[in-house]
């Protein structure tokens, strides 16, 4: 390799629009948020001034935030578990080629592609306690004697019903991530196992599951990020009630309803740090895969 005298400018020219966009419209706002998290920013209570960790201390004493923290934890546990288990199940069904498989994949992706605004409309028609179709069907099948209240009464049931809506949306991605890894498992591994007298359950436990672990890992991380930021589903289906309010909803309420922007920024910062921690772990993981 011969040494160049001047710096090779081409790559910088090529990435400059990308970097410009990131600096102007992603990093700048993020830095602004991170700095403002340490200031008292309350238009109702001026002036704005540096307040150290006050915002973070206030967060701990905000009962709505604390209840949302517990709820968000439940969203994460339920959402990650359900979307991963369903993702594995559907991926295994789609593992081998069969007639109509590609149409099935197309249909599978549908929920992922729909806008969140529509999702709320979709699911209120299902869960509604007075006119919802789920009640109607359960009653027709004589599984219930009178219409049930799914949302708002029992905390766990409410969170479960709301999280199912999100799971409906994120499971396609989990499935595809797992399926991508699953398809790379060579068939002869299964054949060899069958010859050794292994049944399909054993093959699944001893071959499939260990080998798709990388896919599961990525699926889990995307599910954690999605559930950690859950907003639309509880907001539309359960209002601001503490039975199911999420951390992201509280960030919004603290900023736009209480107009305590400093505290809102602080809360955003905490969520960002947590998300980044998870993402960095994955980024490292994927780095290994692409950087030879």
């Amino acid at each position: 390799m011969n040494k160049r005298k001047s710096v090779d400018l081409l790559p910088y020219a090529l990435i400059s629009p990308l970097i410009l966009f990131i600096i102007c419209l992603a990093i700048t706002p993020a830095v602004y948020t991170s700095v403002a998290a340490f200031f008292k920013v309350q238009p109702l209570n001026p002036p704005t001034h540096f307040s150290g960790l006050d915002n973070f201390r206030d967060i701990i004493h905000n009962s709505a935030v604390i209840s949302s923290l517990g709820n968000t934890f439940l969203y994460i546990v339920i959402g990650v578990t359900l979307s991963t288990v369903l993702g594995i199940y559907i991926a295994v069904i789609l593992q081998r080629r069969f007639k109509g498989r590609s149409i099935l994949i197309a249909i599978l992706i549908l929920p992922w592609a729909l806008p969140g605004v529509v999702e709320g409309i979709l699911w209120t028609g299902i869960w509604d306690a007075n006119t919802g179709v789920l009640n109607s069907v359960l009653k027709s099948l004589h599984l219930i004697t009178h219409y049930q209240v799914f949302l708002g009464q029992n905390r766990l049931l409410t969170i479960l019903a709301i999280e199912i809506v999100q799971v409906w949306q994120i499971t396609p991605l989990s499935t595809i991530l797992i399926l991508a890894v699953l398809q790379n498992i060579p068939d002869d591994l299964y054949e060899a196992a069958t010859i050794d007298g292994s049944n399909s359950r054993k093959s699944f436990l001893h071959i499939t599951l260990p080998l798709i672990r990388p896919g599961i890992a990525i699926a889990v991380v995307q599910a954690i990020i999605a559930t950690l930021n859950v907003f639309d589903q509880p907001y539309i289906l359960n209002g601001a009630a503490t039975t199911a309010n999420s951390l992201a909803m509280e960030t919004y309420a603290v900023s736009f309803q209480n107009l305590n922007f400093g505290q809102g920024y602080a809360l955003s910062l905490l969520i960002t740090i947590f998300t980044l921690l998870i993402s960095v772990v994955v980024a490292k993981f994927i780095y290994k895969k692409v950087e030879y």
Partner: protein
């Protein structure tokens, strides 16, 4: 195949179909009913008197609702298509540099790209709005498009980068021997090769842009720029709005992404796999 496996698969296929389609079927079903039929108990499993009345009310004629829906549909197409085109062009240039060139700070810049993918959207809402206001881009197509581009560019770059890295560099090297410049190599050799990834990136970016709500809500002040999603929420928030009409608005808003997802699922799947950091 063993009968037990066949049963397993049949059940699975049934599950996938009902899990994905029943909620969508239900909203389509209600969009073809009258408001009175929707509140009947038990619910109608199919429209008793299917008709286009709700769709006509939202799409055709001089009604104020129809005007809003039509205008916002044009807006959402302009915003999504423009954002998609700009994102794909800029992302493929950057991905080419990252995949095929050595330069100082490469790892650092790549790391930044990955990091920004993890920012929760509402962290950047108010500062982003301030920036847009200071450069007079609030309530313009350009403002909304730039906001989308900044949001989706990192993921798009990532998808294209992973795809390029999976291609052998040998073909390009053959090209470069003939004395072609790197940009000629990009245009004549790399670009045709990465077309599938460009399609993936384009479709995914378009679908993400279509789903946006909170940013266009804040950045668009009136009907000249408001996308369909904001209008659907506006309809939903009306004091008196029949659920049948709301379902119809929902069906209109989901029809485009649904059709795209059905016909381009191959590209979506490969794109999601390549960009699976998000």
């Amino acid at each position: 195949m063993k009968p037990s496996n066949l049963g397993f698969r049949r059940f699975g296929i049934g599950f996938i179909l009902s899990w994905s389609l029943i909620p969508i079927y239900w909203v389509i079903n209600t969009s073809f009913q009258t408001d009175a039929q929707i509140s009947d108990t038990p619910s109608h499993l199919y429209p008793p008197t299917p008709g286009w009345a709700n769709y006509k009310a939202l799409l055709i004629g001089n009604g104020e609702l129809a005007g809003m829906v039509r205008r916002s549909t044009i807006n959402i197409f302009i915003e999504c298509i423009s954002a998609t085109v700009i994102t794909v062009v800029l992302a493929s240039l950057a991905a080419y540099a990252f995949a095929r060139m050595e330069f100082k700070g490469r790892k650092f810049f790549l790391f930044i790209v990955v990091m920004t993918m993890a920012f929760p959207t509402y962290t950047t809402l108010i500062p982003m709005y301030r920036i847009m206001a200071s450069i007079h881009l609030v309530n313009t197509y350009l403002g909304i498009i730039l906001c989308y581009v900044s949001g989706f560019l990192p993921l798009a770059t990532w998808i294209l980068l992973s795809y390029m890295q999976s291609l052998p560099a040998a073909i390009e090297e053959a090209g470069s021997v003939d004395g072609a410049s790197r940009m000629q190599v990009f245009r004549l050799i790399v670009l045709p090769l990465i077309m599938p990834a460009i399609a993936s990136t384009g479709v995914i970016t378009f679908l993400f842009a279509w789903a946006q709500f909170i940013f266009p809500l804040v950045l668009a002040s009136d009907q000249s720029t408001q996308p369909l999603t904001v209008i659907v929420a506006a309809i939903q928030g009306r004091h008196v709005v029949p659920y049948s009409l709301l379902s119809t608005a929902g069906v209109i808003a989901l029809s485009v992404p649904a059709v795209i997802a059905l016909f381009t699922n191959r590209f979506i799947v490969s794109g999601l796999i390549n960009g699976s950091v998000k």
